[in-house]
Symmetry: D2
């Protein structure tokens, strides 16, 4: 029997759970799991159900759209591997964590390629039989370089998510708009602290006692996109910024991989520059 | 408009969410929040909804019972302060945390009394204008002492929860059965590690690097009741067991107060010696 | 036998541990514990020893000053209760946590008074037989109000630390200078995120997945003083800002009380707007 | 200039820091860092200094031994890559984490080989150009199988540490004695909870709200060796034991790699079935 993930966000009104569940019931679908949330401030309803039964996705979606308020978003997704591209620069830890999970069969994803502005990580990525594409930025301005990357990405039939696994260049609005809510970045601080360059150095100079990492969708404001996941570790006066950087890697990779997992399992809603995660 | 907490646990079958939400819809009730969980292993369905509308609790409950599978448990609870009794022995931190929260208006509870086998805490409790009842165990065997405590408790019209805020005596099956799933204890270790007496000393001797605390309902097997909440802190070789005990107090009190909050908000289901918490 | 805490910070040079420990050895003092740290970036040496033996503090200090580099700071402190004043506004949790610890004998401190700009907390504080002093700000400008508080504080013979347990007014440079490195504040965010007013509201609006608290010494830049201690808890989309505020209280109080403990035990060095904590 | 790690454990007596630091001073060595701890219960002194200067290790050690109490342990270690062997069975995450760190140059170690009782991980390990040695246990009893592994290990000139990265077979006393305090294991629970097989299943059945991982040296009692490092994550009722297992992997790998790092940096003392870690 087919299984579907049904994701609904709508303006809230009385009876939405009843209406949706009646569709499931009438189509003889079994609800494997179900989560709801109502944002009272914005009067928004969010629901994620996993259902199984004998029907196709289009028919299910049609039935739901008919009974839901206008302008509702309804996604009916058949669970399968998503197509992802990873972008990286020089660091191996976050990238490596994803590659090992992929190798271990833990990720519901096809890694189409790793794209980098350097060729440093090529030998490493090649071990995993994953295409490595170097798009050097040398001699190019930001727009020209991005143009080449966009061209490269357009070569793929489908991209569900682009994972910035310590890709150390800022993306322009043009790039971000092309992949809205599809670009997941790991920032090496607990945002909104230490936006921008070298957050560990900033953290060291501020004398903080915890450092962290933040996975977020990328939008047009640097490090200000919707946050998916965050975590921290304790540090003390004996850490210089390089020590913080080393210790921070463990948080970065776990937070990024965790956020990617949520995305691959279609657990994330983006709304009002925030995320609702079931 | 009245607001109710509806808690349902039932054998799982297709359409339960539909059936329940149709009752809410037909009675013109608004679902303020809703959580569900299906335990696949035991085929058990759990649901907690907060609804508001113009109906009384008994009528709502009756409607739900009619459409749910036989042997379902249906509770319709009107939010109000619960009646609790706190039992303590000599330590002030867990008790004090609850008393301060109560004073600050953070607890949806009436504290009927603090009952202790010593009078040590009486001056402290008296500051808060809460009755303090000493039931000394001196010269009594366990059964006799408990008999006196049970008598004391029977003096109260209603007790929703008994909170053991570091009450250092073991309760007999008779006592536990009289207040099944109503006694919340804080154990000063991350259970099931270090069951029994002086867990900090056990932890010190084992050389652990984390210590913790566990809030659980009390059943007939010492420290083996359903776990509500746990948390831990890091320690190192420089901690002797008294240091662990001191540091552990902060975890104990926060974990116990957190578990009590869940209970007062009717968020806990007990099933198969575990808890489902929404 | 007398016990002393010896705290030294000095420009680093070869042989400092040798020189200090030779003084201890020659004076027949036993080192109960010892911690050192060298800040390589600033070439600064920090040392905290607990020693016991038959000598007075002044003699010990004199011996140490003679062998250490010029401009070294040498403190020889006899462990005893410190004199503290708590300042609060309306909230009870952080204040209450300190009062209960004090009552339980956990704090090496005499609480001289609680000073507040409102009288709201007076009934609560009075339970603990601690003087409560209301210095209302009504009808006064900031300078005038602070002047009255400073006058009040000058009435005490000695103040080792002023603890701002959710005192919701900003202190002027004049006040801060009068009690340099003696004022400990709890800020309800993981600084430097969410400086300023209502950090929980800011956190909610940013959609963070962790919230925290920071205990720090107060300096002339709002929320930018040397950080003593920080901690965080996880939140999710279901928390509105009031929920964050409620949950945050548990972190605030534990972080503030922990920082106070470090201060009372003379474990903190302040240097370059940071803390070294042994 | 040469740099040395000096590790001393001795029966405590007055003047040890003075004596050791006087040796350093007289040999014109600079103390780069220094940590001490006195275990009052067992009257044991522990010290780890990093010194730099113009002397050889043997001469330094000789000087120290002469002035320290008899039966003191004195190690003078020149920092260099340690030789390690990894043992694994079928799981990739803990092994992969170490291999990626090694590849990234984060580990001060030469990985001599990965030894396994299955050949499942061979393709994965081979990517990293590290010898993979299968020693199948099929048709062999425990003693015979271990004999073959010991023979394999004896083929290496030197082994500083054996890392059990989810090696799922129990080692006999004979094996353990051959590599005393050199075998680091990751156990997938917060020991001493859930000793033995399938701790995640045990944790699920107990209904815990936190799960964890423990890195420890292996001794002759299953899962009872000296603990190096532990960490935990929160779980809830929605986790079945396979979910716990999946989530637990992130803790396991980070805890194991962290413990290995401590070992490679010579930061661990083993004493009284515990560890002192600087």
């Amino acid at each position: 029997m087919a299984q579907y993930r049904v994701l609904i966000d709508a303006n809230d009104e009385k009876g939405l759970v009843y209406k949706v569940s009646s569709i499931f019931f009438n189509l003889n679908l079994n609800m494997v799991s179900n989560s709801e949330f109502v944002d009272r401030v914005n009067n928004k309803f969010f629901m994620r159900s996993v259902v199984e039964g004998d029907i196709d996705a289009a028919a299910l979606r049609k039935s739901l759209v008919e009974i839901l308020p206008k302008k509702s978003n309804v996604r009916v997704i058949e669970p399968k591997n998503k197509d992802i591209v990873i972008m990286a620069t020089k660091e191996m830890h976050a990238l490596g964590d994803i590659l090992v999970r992929h190798e271990a069969g833990e990720l519901d994803a096809n890694i189409l390629a790793v794209v980098s502005n350097y060729d440093i990580l090529e030998p490493f990525v090649s071990k995993f039989n994953i295409p490595f594409i170097t798009v050097s930025h040398e001699g190019l301005n930001r727009a020209e370089h991005e143009e080449k990357i966009l061209k490269t990405l357009e070569g793929f039939e489908n991209i569900d998510y682009i994972v910035l696994a310590k890709y150390m260049r800022i993306l322009t609005p043009r790039f971000v708009e092309a992949y809205e809510n599809k670009i997941i970045n790991i920032h090496h601080s607990f945002l909104p602290a230490f936006i921008g360059a070298n957050p560990y150095k900033q953290a060291y100079e501020r004398g903080v006692k915890i450092i962290g990492a933040t996975a977020h969708f990328v939008n047009n404001n640097l490090d200000e996109g919707p946050i998916i996941s965050q975590n921290v570790i304790q540090v003390d006066h004996a850490y210089d910024w390089q020590d913080m950087q080393k210790s921070g890697r463990d948080v970065e990779k776990v937070v990024l991989s965790g956020a990617l997992k949520m995305a691959l399992e279609d657990r994330i809603f983006v709304y009002a520059n925030k995320t609702v995660i079931f």
